[in-house]
């Protein structure tokens, strides 16, 4: 399928080695627009959406971001935030996110991690990244993980 010319800079930025070492697409061969549509459909089937999920993720990150490196607990979630110098650009070119990683252990012992850029990509673009990307978050797993947050 021919790529929309407006999307070409985005496609370029999603590649490995442009904004991050491993990029945002993993081994996924679908156009990023299809990934977004597929994930949106999965979320709709579960009765939620990307903005709601991003807000829950932000809330958990906020609980830990004032005490980087120290684990705080909230409703059975153990949250640890790590910060690094500098910022990373959004491949959609509309935001620069602090290099901040949030690791959360859920009430049942399961663990998920995300970056501030992850949260922005989900909230602003509905983009959970391609299959196999290091920071890909599976929408259904995220919904389950965050249901008590």
């Amino acid at each position: 399928m021919k790529e929309n010319p407006r999307n070409i800079p985005v496609v370029e930025s999603l590649r490995a080695g442009i904004l991050s070492r491993d990029g945002f697409m993993g081994e996924d061969t679908r156009p990023f627009t299809d990934i977004i549509l597929d994930d949106a459909a999965a979320l709709a089937a579960l009765g939620t959406n990307a903005v709601e999920l991003a807000q829950k993720m932000t809330n958990l990150t906020k609980l830990g971001q004032d005490t980087p490196g120290i684990t705080v607990t909230h409703k059975g979630y153990a949250i640890t935030v790590e910060e690094y110098m500098g910022k990373i650009g959004c491949p959609f070119r509309d935001h620069r996110a602090p290099k901040r990683n949030t690791t959360v252990v859920g009430p049942k012992g399961q663990e998920m991690s995300w970056t501030d850029l992850n949260v922005h990509l989900i909230r602003a673009h509905g983009f959970f990244q391609g299959q196999g990307a290091p920071y890909r978050l599976e929408p259904n797993e995220l919904v389950e993980f965050l249901k008590d947050a």
Binding site: P9, A16, G17, D66, T67, Y84, R96, P98, R100
Partner: protein, 368 residues
């Protein structure tokens, strides 16, 4: 359809595809051939004849005019702004988030996004002409902590660098592993400004970071390292009696350079350096700063550990650097603050400093 018919059809398709490829290739060469383009810099003070087709950032770099950029020309840092009076074309979507309304009136553009296609008139700050490129040799690598390395690079014989303590250089990686392209990133210089034949950097490993992974896994002593610089306006102003210095992690780099600068120049300023870390294993240069404190009473070093382990036997300040700042800095009167660290730490410290009377004019930090 028999086999020969299939073969014939496939052959025709391949031939047509090959033909189209040739046509597209020729068309690209013709359409993207902008020929020689004239760049008029600073109202005729400098005139360059360049080959069109590349971004302004890379075109200028080829002419040894280095515009600061922390993101490697990916339109994500907004540092590479220059004023383009003629020849830039309309503002691009990728530039919009970084160019304010006021800057649009001044014809500011991101040089990493604007392509050189026709004659241009540019305004470039004169001090950027002093920025040079250095092909250095990596002569030392030292693990300062489990995730911070110190790199010492020797400049080519006979070359020196003049930088202000606190400034940064751009560090260019080479292709490695799956990384097929060169990228560059900004790192503050940690060595003394008086030592002009080498540069030291402190680089912390960032998960999934292109340049930091290169430094931590691929770079070896003896390798060539391309740098350009110096860049930046994070340097000593000194219109005060006391300097409050605050850093976390590899943010120690420019502060170390600043401390030595004040001492070596015999400046009268008192200095207090608050260095934030989580545990003992995140601390480094402890002996060196303890020695400076002993030798120079004007300097006080205050390492702060947020969560020391019992086995650390930590006797110093316990808590975040913000706690020490809150307790130990009474007001902004007669002081300037110099900060380097993660965005979260910077935001938290700047909030406290402003509550104590520091202003935008007395707080300094790199914004990239």
């Amino acid at each position: 359809m028999d086999f020969s018919a299939i073969l014939k059809t496939v052959s025709i398709l391949v031939a047509v595809s090959a033909g189209l490829s040739v046509v597209i290739s020729i068309a690209e060469k013709v359409l993207n051939n902008y020929g020689t383009v004239e760049l008029d810099i600073n109202n005729g003070k400098k005139k360059l004849s360049v080959t069109g087709g590349s971004t302004l950032l890379s075109t200028l770099a080829q002419e040894k005019i280095f515009i600061p950029s922390a993101c490697g020309g990916k339109a994500t840092c907004g540092l590479c702004k220059v004023s383009i009076l003629e020849g830039a074309g309309p503002l691009l979507l990728t530039e919009e988030p970084y160019i304010s309304l006021e800057e649009r009136k001044q014809n500011m553009r991101l040089s990493c996004q604007v392509k050189v296609k026709s004659n241009m008139k540019l305004l470039i700050p004169e001090d950027l002409f002093n920025i040079r490129e250095f092909i250095t040799e990596l002569v030392e690598v030292e693990d300062m902590t489990y995730d911070i390395k110190r790199l010492r690079m020797k400049l080519p014989e006979g070359m020196t660098i003049d930088f202000k303590a606190g400034q940064f250089v751009q560090f260019y990686t080479k292709p490695y592993g799956k990384q097929k392209e060169e990228v560059f990133r900004a790192y503050s210089i940690s060595s003394k400004a008086s030592e002009k034949d080498h540069i030291e950097l402190l680089i912390r490993l960032v998960p999934n970071g292109i340049a930091t992974t290169y430094v931590h896994t691929a770079l070896k002593v003896g390798d060539q390292v391309r740098l350009s610089g110096p860049y930046g306006d994070f340097y000593l102003r000194g219109n005060c009696e006391e300097l409050i210095m605050i850093a976390g992690g590899s943010g120690l780099a420019p502060i170390r350079s600043l401390v030595y600068d004040v001492i070596e120049k015999g400046l009268p300023h008192k200095m207090r350096f608050f260095f934030g870390a989580n545990t003992m294993r995140d601390l480094y240069y402890m002996d060196e700063f303890a020695q400076i404190e002993k030798d120079y009473p004007q300097f006080k070093f205050i390492p702060c550990l947020a969560r020391p382990e019992p086995s650390d036997n930590w006797q110093g300040v316990t808590g975040f650097v913000t706690v020490a700042l809150q307790e130990q800095v009474d007001s902004g009167e007669g002081k300037e603050a110099y900060l380097c660290g993660s965005p979260g730490m910077l935001d938290a410290c700047i909030k406290i400093l402003k509550e104590k009377g520091f202003t935008d004019e007395t707080i300094f930090y790199d914004k990239f």
